[in-house]
Subunit: 353 residues, 2 copies
């Protein structure tokens, strides 16, 4: 893989470090996450963002909560862990990986409560580190599978950031591009800037150009025109939650992009780890959509541009019906066509790749 | 009509005044346009913008060019006028109203060249003032015709600004809303913020809320999701140029909006004066699309957000095929369906309204 690729979440010298993505692309700065409060704030403020990265970061919450807590054994520490998880669940509502990670940590540590406090703390850290390494493997696997869809010279359009910065490394939507690029294939990537928080122009364009992949930033509103007047071979995006029927919640703007891709006969791929699939949510319409502050639209970057008397509606995500998605790419393979039946089969009996 | 409505272009005390729209919504400030250079800069920098307003402002170019020029008669002043027009034609390439206005002024003043210099100057000013008043009448008429499409309680989505600020008064796309509101109908307007220059959040939301019409700003990427999950009864936008086949060039993002409206069975209207119709351009693909500075996307409002190594593609307009447009609303009536034949008939033999 590319050497220039960023490590979004890193554990070194006994500390958890994340790249503060709110400062990119002008400043590359790692911050130390040394408490549950710092972690909550970092997720809430999108210092760490992207569904898989949120999941991995949250997995360190248990360790952070018990690290300095007083107690004899795991039973004594358990309430600290539960309180931390309750707090972290309030940070962002849409990415299912957050809830998945916290639940997984609870289930796995439950049986370790008999351990001494010291061993329980070590177990909590080991588990988080295991989930960190697993995310790397999963993303690399998504990259391998997705790369089979790519041909040399393709122009690929993406929205928001589902790259290395949205995971521990490699990314989801961008992983196939990194894998195929490392094998010598060349691509042009078109990155929607992705209002309101501009993850496309700030993050996707930054990490792709850093890895030597030519990238062109466009306004979100230009995507349909680009499909009509220029060449776009495929669209690939990430996901914050996939419902049981295959509907995909992803960054606001994805649904309009899917409609435009369909109108132009352009394949629309979604790349996401299996942990993003939420079989407990039957339909895309049941997914809770986070609404963020009006000021992200009215006062972008501290400048008052939006008329103050107007209302603002700022949903962070939208839902794209499964019928508009050519295939879902997970670490287990392609789900194509994407529907309730194929998705259930994929989750229950992962095909070998 | 609403008393609170802004006058975008005004002639008073012997001077031409325009609202500097780059300062809105934080500052309402009129600037005096006292030379061809100031006028060119004001159009180029979008201090005055919107196809009809650009046309009217440009109509004052002849007067500005000859006002202080030396000469005995119109013949002596004529070269100043032509040079001014040549310069103004370079200000913005897509809005046909600019070229239409300059050509009309030339045609109408050609026969006045025998006049004394003083009378020729007066004639140039009279003509510009006539075109200013005509724009008001035309927009009011578009408002009357468009209002017949509106019902009390409707939610109307619009893109960019085709309001009072895009014309002398009343607007094109917003004129029907003003007319019907003055008759007591109530609407909710959803305004796409319209990246990169945010004419929706800065201008449309400002002028509508100023006139007491409830307005909600959304990101451009949210429009399709809003159509899917909330109520949108119709979409109405302006136009910068309508080709002979009915294809419409309008602010970037309009085409994606039209695709989304079609997917949801929502009527998509375009409101524009007949002067926006360019029968000399056969097909939408023949319309010259202005590409603006990459910094509008990379460095919005002076803040470096876009990755510096990335390319930027910044087309100011896109083309929406006539087949996606429910009807064109002009001062002469509705063109529905919109195609080469109906458009030709409409331009040649305007139906009485």
């Amino acid at each position: 893989m590319m050497t220039a690729q960023v490590r979004t979440i890193e554990f070194r010298d006994g500390q958890l470090w994340i790249v503060d993505q709110t400062l990119l692309p002008s400043t590359y700065h790692q911050i130390c996450i040394d408490s549950v409060e710092t972690l909550w704030e970092a997720i809430r403020s999108l210092r760490v963002r992207g569904a898989p990265a949120i999941g991995v970061a949250a997995a360190f919450g248990a360790w952070l909560s018990v690290r300095q807590a007083e107690g004899e054994d795991g039973h004594d520490l358990w309430p600290y862990l539960l309180a931390a998880h309750d707090q972290l669940r309030t940070s962002r509502p849409t990415a299912v990986n957050l809830f998945w990670a916290l639940e997984r940590v609870e289930k796995r540590l439950q049986s370790s409560r008999e351990l001494s406090a010291t061993d329980f703390r070590a177990r909590a850290l080991d588990l988080a580190l295991e989930m960190l390494r697993e995310d790397e493997r999963v993303c690399e696997q998504i990259g391998e599978i997705g790369a089979t869809l790519l041909r040399d010279g393709m122009t690929i359009l993406t929205h928001c950031n589902a790259g290395a910065l949205a995971t521990v490394r490699f990314g989801t939507a961008l992983a196939p591009i990194y894998v195929a690029s490392a094998r010598g294939l060349r691509f042009n990537v078109i990155a929607d800037e992705t209002r309101p928080l501009l993850q496309g122009s700030r993050l996707t364009a930054w990490e792709l150009t850093r890895a030597g992949i030519p990238t062109t930033i466009i306004c979100d509103g230009a995507a349909a025109a680009v499909m009509r007047t220029r060449r776009v071979d495929l669209v690939i995006v990430g996901a914050d939650r996939v419902a049981a029927n295959g509907d995909v919640a992803n960054k606001i703007g994805t649904y309009g992009l899917a409609l435009a891709a369909r109108a132009h006969g352009i394949p629309m791929y979604v790349a996401a780890p299996v942990s993003t699939i939420d079989m407990a949510t039957g339909h895309g319409n049941d997914i809770v959509i986070e609404e963020r502050s009006p000021d992200e639209i009215r006062v972008p970057f501290g400048l008052h541009v939006g008329a103050p008397e107007a209302e603002v509606y700022n949903p962070a995500f939208d839902v794209t019906p499964a019928s508009l998605i050519t295939a879902l790419i997970t670490e287990h393979g392609l789900v194509q066509p994407l529907n309730e039946q194929t998705l259930r089969q994929h989750v229950l009996e992962p095909s070998s790749v």
